[in-house]
């Protein structure tokens, strides 16, 4: 724990990318918001936060209002961040604001008999935190704020002052989970204004839900910082990861050349001037670190092609502008590589050759939609290929 800007102390979440974004960690004696896009899953991140606090001897209090406490324990076991033993040892307590909705009793430590009343929810929270803070430093999870908003509307937000008092009184950390379902602006703004720190979980682009974590507010100050793509490795918790871009296209189109021109470091597995396995390159661009994977071009290697596209965020399709007869093959390769439907940019390569078709002609011959950006390139010309990457990043980042 350390002091930051002489105000609040910070408690590390234990997830290094989040701690970096939060300048050290979660605000002590305060509440913060995990705000998730509907296709992002905030629970696994919060389970990891909680698990880390418990491992360090902290006390956990976990309010559920849209799932059973047992299902949270189950999820933690699947994530290999088991919470069951902590519950058994008296380090973790649930507030069950769920069972009563289905007319069931609960044998959890705390039970909200009247989950339809925001005041009674707050009362149980206050009681739980007062009792549990005697046992140690409390990390409290409210899962979820959006379910409460669904039930109570704005009334739940009036409870925010109670939460603030609780956090200060018990020097606890309160973590609220909130999924941004199409709420009217006044609600989503009111929610954002309640919290001095907000961690955002965003899903990147239209088709593949890739999660990015960023912090939009830290201790009352709006920040716009790095966006870090994250992955949940089931055994290792949440980690930042390097997104993958696939570079594909027909035989001899210029994929290997393009990967090497773009990358700071690159290797290729070549034989007799053709790629027999893959090209791999590392690029730093616009605050992102990216991995480029160039594919084979020859159809006899298609089985390798089919294995390479997995988990790519986007693709660069390279065609030789002098070889329109290969254009159908180019489209087929997008399907075979399993990247059909991902954001992609078309590189109409070898524009330096005298018989090269113009960008417009390539576009027309390939019959691609206006949504797809197309750039005329020369494989060795950095300016032209960086433009391809730029347009691709724009595409990936537009949600």
């Amino acid at each position: 724990m350390f002091k930051s800007n002489g105000q609040t102390t910070k408690v590390p979440t234990g997830i290094s990318i989040v701690d970096t974004l939060l300048d050290g960690g979660m605000p002590n004696g305060d509440s913060f918001l995990i705000r998730a896009h509907p296709l992002a899953d905030p629970l696994s991140m919060v389970i990891e936060f909680l698990h880390n606090q418990l491992k360090n001897g902290g006390v956990g209090v976990f309010l559920v209002n849209n799932k059973s406490p047992a299902s949270v324990l189950e999820e933690s076991a699947i994530l290999k961040m088991g919470l069951r033993d902590f519950k058994r040892n008296g380090q973790l307590f649930f507030i069950d604001a769920y069972s009563a909705l289905f007319g069931l009793r609960s044998n959890e430590a705390y039970f909200v008999e009247d989950p339809n009343n925001p005041v009674s929810v707050s009362k149980v929270v206050a009681q739980a935190l007062s009792e549990c803070s005697k046992k140690g430093k409390v990390f409290f999870v409210y899962d979820s704020l959006n379910t409460s908003i669904d039930e109570f509307g704005n009334a739940i937000l009036a409870e925010a002052n109670t939460w603030k008092r609780i956090a200060i009184a018990f020097n606890a950390i309160l973590c609220f989970i909130y999924t941004e379902w199409n709420y009217p602006k006044d609600i989503s703004e009111a929610v954002a204004n309640l919290f001095s720190s907000i961690v955002d979980l965003i899903t990147l682009e239209r088709i593949v839900a890739t999660q990015v974590v960023t912090v939009s507010k830290n201790e009352g100050t709006p920040v716009s910082k790095r966006m870090v793509p994250i992955k949940n490795a089931v055994t290792g918790g949440i980690k930042g990861y390097v997104p993958k871009i696939l570079v594909t296209g027909p035989f001899h189109a210029g994929k290997t050349t393009l990967v090497h021109t773009l990358s700071t470091r690159a290797v290729s597995v070549q034989r007799m001037g053709t790629t027999v396995a893959l090209d791999f390159g590392h690029v730093n661009h616009r605050g992102f670190t990216l991995d480029l994977f160039g594919t084979v071009g020859q159809p006899r290697f298609d089985p390798i092609l089919e294995r390479l596209g997995g988990e790519a965020l986007g693709a660069i399709l390279v065609v030789d502008s002098t070889k329109p007869e290969e254009f159908p093959r180019a489209k087929e390769m997008m399907h075979k590589a399993g990247v059909h439907g991902l954001p992609y940019v078309l590189a109409a390569n070898k524009q330096d050759l005298p018989d090269a078709l113009s960008v417009e002609e390539v576009k027309k011959k390939m019959n691609i939609s206006d949504e797809v950006a197309i750039v005329g390139t020369v494989g060795t010309d950095k300016v032209s290929v960086v433009k391809v990457l730029d347009l691709l990043l724009d595409k990936i980042l537009s949600t």
Partner: protein, 241 residues
């Protein structure tokens, strides 16, 4: 977007639809609890599966295993599931026992209130089908169950995002709704989200397209008629206490 028509799997319905469903679109499947709307839905999923499409079945009041076993009476083929073309999202099992686990074709959602887990699960599968260029049909059985536990407003917010995602993934969706269980306003609001409705009538054994060549009557496929009437008469023969 492609404007290719997808045959529904029911010939007479296809004629009424001028050839089939357009993609992406979504339909309400409306009928009383006794009507064969769910079975009609299954026939529509089969229609896609027979054409190498994929299907996602979201169950809210049955386990995935129960849903599958019911489907077996209406043409389900094990081979489809083995080929990875049939997936279940089960919003029910975990409410009975939190420890029941997922399988390669079944994802369990912790509860019917956990809209986040539901949309993440459906989106994962729709995405992988989309990337394989495999069209997908989805059936939500049922929207009424959501409306029992959440307000109309909550369900509408969820649908706004959920249907938006299905549209991007070019999917075809069928949403079951119990006739008589909801107020007229609810029906009208939900209709604004859909491309049309198919109303299944258990007395006439007909179905009717609404919001789309309004009023056309189509006989139910024979596969669902005998069983539906048998079930219906069974229920109505039960002596009332």
């Amino acid at each position: 977007m492609t404007h290719e028509l997808l045959p529904s799997g029911i010939d007479l319905l296809d004629s009424a639809l001028n050839g089939g469903f357009t993609k992406p679109s979504n339909f309400l499947l409306i009928g009383t609890p006794l009507s064969a709307k769910k079975e009609v839905g299954l026939i529509l999923l089969n229609g896609g599966l027979e054409r190498d499409e994929a299907a996602i079945y979201i169950s809210t009041s049955n386990t995935a295993e129960e849903a599958r076993s019911h489907w077996e009476d209406y043409g389900f083929k094990e081979q489809w599931e083995e080929e990875g073309r049939v997936k279940f999202v089960d919003c029910y099992s975990k409410m009975l026992s939190a420890t029941v686990s997922d399988t390669p074709s079944i994802r369990r959602v912790p509860s019917i209130l956990d809209y986040t887990k539901l949309s993440v699960a459906v989106n994962d599968w729709c995405t992988s089908y989309y990337l394989q260029n495999t069209p997908v049909r989805l059936m939500l059985d049922s929207l009424s169950a959501f409306l029992i536990y959440s307000s109309l407003q909550t369900v509408m917010r969820f649908l706004h995002i959920f249907l938006g995602q299905l549209r991007k993934q070019n999917a075809l969706g069928f949403f079951l709704l119990e006739e008589g269980a909801h107020e007229i306003v609810t029906f009208n609001q939900l209709k604004t989200f859909s491309n049309g409705a198919i109303r299944v009538n258990e007395e006439s054994n007909m179905m009717q397209l609404e919001g789309y060549r309004h009023g056309m009557n189509i006989p139910l496929p024979s596969a669902v008629v005998p069983k539906a009437t048998a079930e219906a008469s069974q229920v109505s023969c039960t002596p009332t206490k």
